[in-house]
């Protein structure tokens, strides 16, 4: 996939009126989102704003109470009606998630982590899956770690394996849930560099992040959420540079004060 391929810029992912409550706590109160093919969308906002819940819903890790998700021109999941397992699995197959805490399988080597889904779920021939995994590991600079166990790697290396594991699922959309917030500061750069490369290659990505400088550099669009609603969206330099809403301004100011 590359940005020059036909179909770039066509809508790939659409979220309409997504709602979700945990008990009395209404975390999503009608979220709309559109992601075009090859686009990188950054979801930012204070904790509790619902941004992670949106991301998890895209991978069927949460089941929304209402609204809908459309992927491509053939998959529509309508949460206003009862949704079957099959639909949730189809939705899940379209995307792959990179987790905040990596969530690598600790009892498997790096290579086994990467080929687990392709071989045991997608039933790809093992030799193909291994070749693909080695190629991807090479790209993120971890070819020599293929037989290491996760505990032998640094956080940054583990997260790069997490990214490779997601890529090996050949998703249409890559989802990142605060991919660098569990990392030591000096390891953040390596992971961000890999994500930047993927965006340059034309991958479609939705990234939940607190790294506003990175969002500014890599995102085509920034969506600011607060209290379960989208407050503001637009080009990064607008939303993060000269926000229109008070809540966005406060948020941006507070994050910048850290430095």
């Amino acid at each position: 996939m590359s940005p020059t391929e036909p179909g770039v810029g066509a809508p790939l992912l659409a979220v309409h009126g997504l709602r979700k409550s945990f008990g009395d706590n209404e975390v999503l109160r009608g979220i709309d989102l559109e992601v075009r093919r090859g686009q990188v969308v950054a979801l930012v906002g204070p904790s509790g704003s619902g941004k992670t819940t949106v991301l998890r819903s895209l991978n069927s890790l949460e089941i929304p109470d209402g609204g809908g998700i459309t992927v491509g021109d053939d998959l529509v999941v309508d949460f206003d009606r009862p949704v079957g397992k099959r639909q949730l699995n189809l939705l899940r197959d379209r995307s792959a998630m990179v987790f905040q805490h990596y969530n690598l399988f600790p009892h498997m080597t790096v290579l086994q982590n990467v080929i687990e889904g392709p071989v045991h779920v997608r039933k790809q021939p093992k030799a193909d899956a291994v070749a693909e995994a080695e190629r991807l590991l090479q790209r993120v600079g971890l070819a020599d770690k293929r037989d290491a166990y996760p505990f032998q790697l640094s956080g940054g290396q583990q997260q790069r394996v997490g990214i490779v594991r997601a890529l090996a699922m050949r998703p249409q959309v890559l989802l990142f849930d605060e991919p660098t917030s569990a990392l030591d500061p000096e390891l953040v750069g390596d992971v961000l560099a890999v994500i930047k490369e993927l965006s340059d290659e034309g991958w479609t990505m939705v990234i939940v992040t607190h790294e506003l400088a990175f969002a500014r550099e890599v995102a085509d669009e920034v969506v600011f959420m607060d209290q379960g609603l989208v407050v503001e969206r637009g080009a990064p330099e607008v939303v993060l540079g000269s926000p229109q809403h008070d809540r966005t301004r406060q948020f941006v100011r507070r994050l910048q004060q850290r430095f």
Binding site: F99, N103, F105, E116, G117, M169
Partner: protein, 219 residues
Amino acid sequence: MDWELVRTSLGPIVRGAVLGTIPLTLASFALGLALALAVALMRLSHIRVVSGLARAYISVIRGTPLLVQLFVIFYGLPSVGLTISPWPSAIIAFSMNVGGYGAEIIRAAILSVPKGQWEAAHMVGMPRALALRRIILPQAARVSVPPLSNTFISLVKDTSLASLILVTELFREAQQIAAVSQEFMVLYVEAAAVYWVVCLFLSTAQSLLERRLDRYVAH
């Protein structure tokens, strides 16, 4: 101390261990573990009737003496028309017992695996059963080896109760020789020593297994 008696009785007692105690323990533990896994999964089920059944089972097994369970099966069931011979009776009672205690161990071990592991397994497309088998249980196994080893070692000693339903095992051999020779102290201490040796051997096996399962965690 009658060393001649120790020498002549050691053969039958060790034979009782090899032909009685050890196979009884292995068979009961293997069946019991399978039962324990099933009960643990039932206990974790979101379907209330299913988890309720598992809870009731665990409660009955843990709340009644093993000796009484053994007697109900061997001496009780014949009066309702179900006669089971000594060996199967013992295996049924012991494996049901392991099933009850083991279920709680396995349930706790499954719950000790972080939720993110389920999520990562789902993310790579695994349905629940496959995630359990390939991702969750291998990690739960590591946690459950020490407490399950406890259950296993207890079982070795509990099989002496089978002597009371006429199973020829280690302790029954010792009792029979003692009854004839009237040397109770010698024979029972000897029996205790043989149990202890078997358990020592098992403890070593446990350490080896733990070391093997620990190869993927930081030390």
